[in-house]
Amino acid sequence: MNKRHDHLFPGMLMLLGIVFILTAARTGSATDPSDYLDLDRLGDRYGEVAFDHALHADYAACSECHHHTTGEAPSDPVCAACHQAGDEAESVSCATCHPVQPFAVELIEQKANSTRYHIDIVGLQGAYHLNCLSCHEAIGGPTGCTDCHQSQP
């Protein structure tokens, strides 16, 4: 009997050690900004969105969300017609190109006189929901209005 216990003890220690290392590794990755992001740039009707970037990067190609801006070729065939190759942008943050106030007076004037091809860039609120919701609906992620963010009083 005693002999058996002597064998068990180091085994349990090893198990504890492994569990500890695993937990530490998880907390470490969760606090790394590029794996886990708090999206909180918009209004105050809803709270911030805890976005698990690493989880999503597992599910989808970068170009599903970032267009061709991370250097990948675009996955949307409509965009691929003109942007065949990836073209890394200085900043891949959605807000660089998708304005928080898309209907500001200056932007509306700019659009009216614009000779740019892209006169139809959605605002940040639209960019997030069009992108996130369309995929969640298609392959099963949260779609309820309080699934990703809590209502603020």
Partner: protein, 316 residues
């Protein structure tokens, strides 16, 4: 030979001038028909393929316009059920905008459509109103002065989209109610209406109507499989400030495709043109009828008399 003063040309020009004078009023009407709205007037492009039926726009409108609280919450999907007459909801004095749900064979998921005043370029309600309660502002909104309104409800009948509603709560103070494009609180300050700002998927795009048409055509051109090739409101009712893109034929989601392509105002003008005609021509016309009729009567009488004469003569 080809002198400009040849007798024939002279006559032709003279005749043309004469005709032009005669139909002068008609030329003006045509000009009014071509009115494209104020330069830089604003509008909203509604992309039904993006609408998820969350009713955030309804909630935002209710708050912005200080309307009474809804019977059930804005997250209650039971409002999408048809009423006992099989009709979907309509905007009324308690809700200037409503979102309805449509099941069609063209899509494997339900579709949604937001309804509110379309802010026509040449509003029929404005033309129909006897007391000039309505105004079309340069920004594109069709607004009204409730203090002037006498409650005749002509606008309700005139509107091709059946939008104006009446608040019946007070019999002595009838009050017209409809979407005003958030004119006084937002549009005058260059801000988009509350519903647009609230829409999470940017199914509502605010901007200059001309730009919106360009954007609409671009979306259709880039994704012909996603959209039907029609921007509802570009020509309907003579053009409206609110424009609609759809993934299924528009009439499948409740749009009235029989709305005339000319502004309703044209018909009203045509009708008004008849009024002086009635006053000037009808007296003469009826005098003529009367003369003819009485002459006929006389002829009949004389005929009768002569017949009797002949009868008498044959009877002899």
């Amino acid at each position: 030979m080809n002198g400009p003063l040849s007798r024939r040309n002279f006559l032709r020009t003279g005749l043309a001038t004469f005709c032009a004078t005669l139909i002068g009023t008609h030329a003006e009407k045509t000009a009014a028909r071509d009115f494209e709205g104020y330069h830089q007037s604003k509008g909203v492009l509604v992309d039904l393929t993006r609408c998820i039926g969350c009713r955030s726009c309804e909630a935002a409108c209710n708050k912005e316009q200080g309307l009474p609280p809804p019977e059930t919450g804005f997250d209650d999907p039971s409002v999408f059920q048809l009423d006992e007459h099989g009709q979907p909801r309509r905007p009324d004095d308690r809700a200037y905008t409503v979102v309805n749900r449509y099941e069609t064979e063209f899509a494997d998921h339900p579709l949604f459509r937001k309804i509110q005043c379309n802010h026509c370029l040449e509003p029929a309600c404005l033309t129909a109103c006897f007391v000039n309660a309505y105004t079309k502002t340069p920004e594109g909104a069709v607004i009204y002065d409730a203090d002037v309104c006498v409650g005749c409800r002509t606008c309700m009948i005139a509107c091709p989209f059946s939008i104006p509603a009446f608040k019946y709560s007070s019999a002595f103070e009838p009050r017209i109610m409809k979407c005003i494009f958030c004119y006084d609180t937002r549009l005058v300050n260059g801000l988009p209406p509350a519903c647009v700002e609230a829409c999470p998927t940017e199914a509502l795009t605010f901007g200059e109507r001309e730009t919106l048409l360009r954007i609409g055509r671009k979306r259709i051109r880039e994704r012909p499989n996603r959209y039907v090739d029609h921007v509802y409101g570009e020509h309907e009712a003579g053009g409206t400030a609110w424009l609609y893109l759809s993934g299924v034929p528009h009439d499948e989601v409740g749009f009235d495709m029989d709305v005339p392509k000319q502004p309703i105002i044209t018909y009203v003008k045509d009708f008004l043109a008849i009024v002086p005609m009635v006053l000037t021509i009808w007296p003469a016309l009826f005098a003529g009828f009367h003369l003819l009729a009485s002459r006929e009567q006389k002829t009949i009488e004389t005929n009768h008399a002569s017949q009797e004469d002949s009868h008498e003569s044959t009877g002899q």
